[in-house]
Every structure is written in C-alpha cells, then in structure tokens.
Amino acid sequence: MKLQRKNMLRASALGALVVSGALVLTACGSDDNTGAGTNASGKPSAAAGDIKCDGASGKLLASGSSAQKNAVDLWVKNYMAACSGVEVNYKSSSSGEGIVAFNQGTVGFAGSDSALKPEQVEESKKICTGGQGINLPMVGGPVAIGYNLSGVDKLVLDAPTIANIFNDKIKKWDDEAIKKLNPGVALPSTAIQHFHRSEDSGTTENLGKYLKAAAPDAWTYDAAKKWPAPGGLGASGSSGVATQVKQVDGAIGYFELSYATSQNIKTVDLNTGAAAPVKASADSASKAIAAAKVVGTGSDLALKLDYTTKAEGAYPIVLVTYEVVCDKGNKAETLPTVKSFLGYAASDAGQKILSDHGYAPIPAEINSKVREIVNSLS
C-alpha cells in the first residue's frame, strides 16, 4: 500500500518532468530561427586558408544587435575552428545595449542595427584614445512582411497600403486598395490583425524609415525604435511577432526573413514601382543595399539606404547592421583579434556564408572599403 503510493508519486513526478521537459524543449524550438541545426553538424564552410589569425589570441568580447546574431555565430564557429586558442564571445542583446557596452569599454566591438548617433560618437572618444567609434556595415538582411490568410498564397502590397494597414486605416483584407494590387485573388473579408514589436527594436526603426520614405503621405511618424502607430497588437521579439502571425488567421507582421523561412510564414511581395513585384530574399535585399550611399565621414561607413529604389528585383525594406569599433585607440590586447575576426567577416568567404542563411552580403564596392578600414584599425 505504502509502496504503491510511493510509486504513484514517483510516476506522477516523472510525468511532470516529461511534461515540463517537453515545454522547455518547445520553448527553445520556437526561438530557433535559423537552419543552424543542419549547418552545425556540417564541416566549417570556409576553408581555413581564408582566415588570417595573425596575432590573434585570448578572448574577445562583443555584444549587440540580435538581428545579426546568427551571422556572427556562423563567423565565430568557423573562425574559432581555424584559429586555435582564440575565443570570440558575441552576446546578442540589442543594438542599444551593445553601444552602451562599447562606450563603457567592456567589449572589443559592438553590433548595431543603426549607425552611432552624434552624441554616442562623442561619448566613444573617451574609450577610443585619439580616435572615435566608427560604423562598419557587415551584414544586411531583408525585413519580411509576413502574413497569414487562409486561401491566399500570394499577396502583393505597396508601401502606402502597408502603411495604411499598420496605422489601422485598412481594417479588412478585402479592402479596395488591397484588391487593386491583387487582381484575380479571392480575398476574404477577415479583419486584419497587425502585429508589431512591443519592445524597442531596430527592426521597427528600419520599417519606419522605409514607410516614411516610400509612403510619406500615409506614414507620418518619425522612424524610431518604439512602435509609433495606434492600434494593432504588440509581441515581444521577432520570434514573438512571427509566432503570433503564424497562429492568427488574418494576421500580418514584420520580422527578419529567417523567421519567416524557419516557420513557413508566407511573405508579402513588394510592389516598388518596378516591372514585377519583388519577393523578399537575400538576393533582392543585396540589390537594394547596392543602391545605398556612404554618408559617414572619414573611416566611418554609415550607410544611407535608398528606400524608394525602383530597380528591378531590389527589395527595399532592408536592415543593415554594423560592427562598431574604434578607428584609433582600440585596446592593445584585443586589437589583433578584432582585426583578424572582422577581416574574416568582411572577406569573400565570410560574406558568402551569409546568403545561405537569410542574410544579404554587403555589396562588393562597400565591402572593399570595409576591408581597407579593418586593415587600418589601430
């Protein structure tokens, strides 16, 4: 009798363990937004010859944007496989946090979705003795507009329509504006539920920049990390938004393309004014980034993207993430590692692996400048 009860307890404890274990596992699953699983088992995709380890040693700390986390992880894996004894540790938190850590001097470089602001550059001069913080564009990526509408497998939208959906003016999927862009598609009269990031986010800021540039009449808000428009629903993180879109019929939201591919979420083709609507992909994002102009001065390579580009096959809702380093006055103990690691990231091999993972390589012209500057860091 007593034994039986004990067994029962044990069984229920075991059951509880299994249930909570499953919960934990699914929790991890929903956050995994890359095909890294398949890649992890493969051999490092870059030949060791591309990676110059000269002088690199010890431990390099870095922190910042979660948008480029998967890219940096790939680089780190290959880099550490090639250069033994070097450890690179990229803490993916957020752009803001990365820059704060950089300006406190606790990291060798920071990842950021947006270029340093003037006051942040001013602050960086304390850390970079004799120099200042600069932005090196390293990773580009399309911000996909994902939707979930049963029966509709292909959807074309343009900037004003997207703006009106996200500012709550278009409330039904069979709105005239959407119908006009999608002739021959049977649109249901489902209510539109639009999802945005509930926390401050560089992705939000980039979408805002695009909408403000491409649809200034419909989108009157200044681009900011905080979601500006009324209505709609917030969810935390790109993974949170993607999960909600996947779950709710009639939903639309924005996130990095990798979240859409990993969760099989349909994405909107963009009518940019080009002959054919453009699908979000690494390729089409690269084409849009190619139209960007460098606005940084000196060795700063901050980019100004052309959101209104009408180039064929160019997808203009893109995000460029930078690595922030000191042009002069980097810490002596981490400088060789920073140069060697970023040198690999900007190399052909480093850029090539990006496109396989939903990111867009930086166009060659800008990339060659990045390499020059990485070489000249001191």
Partner: protein, 330 residues
Amino acid sequence: MATTTPTQTDSPPPPVSASVKTAGRAGDAVFSGLSKGSGILLLVIMASIAVFLTYRAAIALSQNEGNFLTTFDWDASANPPVFGIAVLLFGTVVSSIIAMAIAVPIAVGIALFISHYAPRKLAATLGYVVDLLAAVPSIIYGIWGALFLVPQLAGLNLWLDEYLGWTYVFDKSQPGVARSLFTVGILLAIMILPIVTSVSREVFLQVPRMNEEAALALGATRWEVIRMAVLPFGRSGVISASMLGLGRALGETMAVATVLSPSFLISGHLLDPGGGTFAQNIAAKFDEANEFGRDALIASGLVLFLLTLLVNGAARMIIARRKEYSGANA
C-alpha cells in the same frame, strides 16, 4: 545496566549543569549579538538599496519633461525624455485584482477540499500537483500563455462580449486576439494559485480539533463546521496567503511581457489589448534603454516598491484587527 544508570545520573549532573549554564550565558550573548547584527545588517542593506534607487530615480525625475504620475507615454531615451507611470500603475493594479478575484476563491476551495473533504490519498496527490505549479518558471507560463491560453480564450472573450458587453468592462471594442489585461489576470491567477492554496491548506489544518468536534456535537453539518469554525479561524491566514500571492502577481515580469500586447493607453475595456505593468515595462524597455532610460525604469520600479509596501501594510492592518482569530494566539 540497571545498576550503572543511577551512578551515571547521580554523579555527572552537577558539573554538566554548571557548564551548560555558563555556556548558555555565553551562547546567549553570542546568539543575541548575531541576531541583532543580522537585523541591523538587513536594515542597512534595505536602506542602502532604497538610497541607491531613490538617487537614480531622482536623476531621472529631475529631467522628466512629462508629469511622472499622469503622462501616458514612456519615451525615456528620447530627447527631451517624457515618461509617466499612469498606465503602468493602472495595468498592474487591474491585472492583479483580476488575478486575485479568480485565484483566491479557487485556492480556498482547493484548500478546503484537501483539508476537509478529499480522501487522504487524493488530497496528497492534489496538494502535490498544485505545489508543482509553483515550480514552473514564469517564462514557461509566458510561452504557454502565448501559444495555448491566448487562442483558447478567444471563445470566452466572444461569450463575455456578447452576454456581458453591457457592463462596459467586458465590451470588446477592437477585434483581435486575447492579449489583454484580462488574459494576463487569468495567467497570473494560475501562477499564484499554488502559494495561496498551500498556505491556506496549512492554516485550515491548524484549526483546533476541539472547535470542529464541538460544532459537530451541536449537530452542525460539515459545511456549517467549515463556515462557523474553519473559515473564521483561517481568515487571517487566508489573507496572508493572498498577500503572498498578490506579491507575486504585482511583480510578475516575463509571463506578462510575453502575453500582453502593451500600449500606453488606459482603457476600461479589459478584453481589448493594451495597458502595461511595471515589471513588464521594465523587462521590455531595459535592453534598449540608455543609462538615463534605466534610471527612469528604476524610478518606475520604486513606485512598484511603494505599491507593494502599501498593500502589505494594509494587509497587516486587516490581520491585526482580526487578531482574536489568529492561530498565533491559540
């Protein structure tokens, strides 16, 4: 054996008792010093935390362009900074009230069932299962809430809107999934259930057997026993238990941040997405906040601290007024 025991008990006592006495005095002094020291240390730690928080909060408040108490916005990293806690205070209080309204009756019911109705075997299992709820980390509740609870509540929301929409509170004025303060309240209720249940159960088990037997002897039914003997005796305990639960509900962070669709608006329509809580706002904004933004968040945290202090003070007053029933005096 029998012969040795008297000599053993006879001879040793005098020296032993003397040494115990002296050791006891020294021990007393050490122990009283230790406990006094610990008490003072606690006060020092609390005071220094309070000073630190107040100092950082003061930096933020001195530069706030909005009214800290009435501004419906949180833009602390902007220039000039504008932020206020009105929405957060409302959201924190409302979601906690919903959680308490749901959790306390259910918890008392479960506790009574376990202590007075259920067969012992079932009671043990049930108690065990409820306690297990406390061991689930809150982020898991958050994910469970977002993936399972939110879609499941769509039907309940429609029902409430249709039949109770006239109350204004349950009028659902926007379409949209159930990522509202109401859903958060339900989730919080589930999260605070174990602590309220287990403390209430302990209290109900403490009811003097004599009281219950006396009531039974007078011909009371089991329900009458519970109403006349168990509930009055356990009331202060249940209030304390509820306050412990309320503490968790007020401060819950990740589960709320995952489930709620926050916005800086106060709306009486509880089924509509919107609102926010102190802890959720801190979690959401902390990452991207600059140093000043963090000071502002600390200021909001200080308000949560004061709120908790007020609630606990009120609870203590209620319990003190019902001292005659308290188990401590029995």
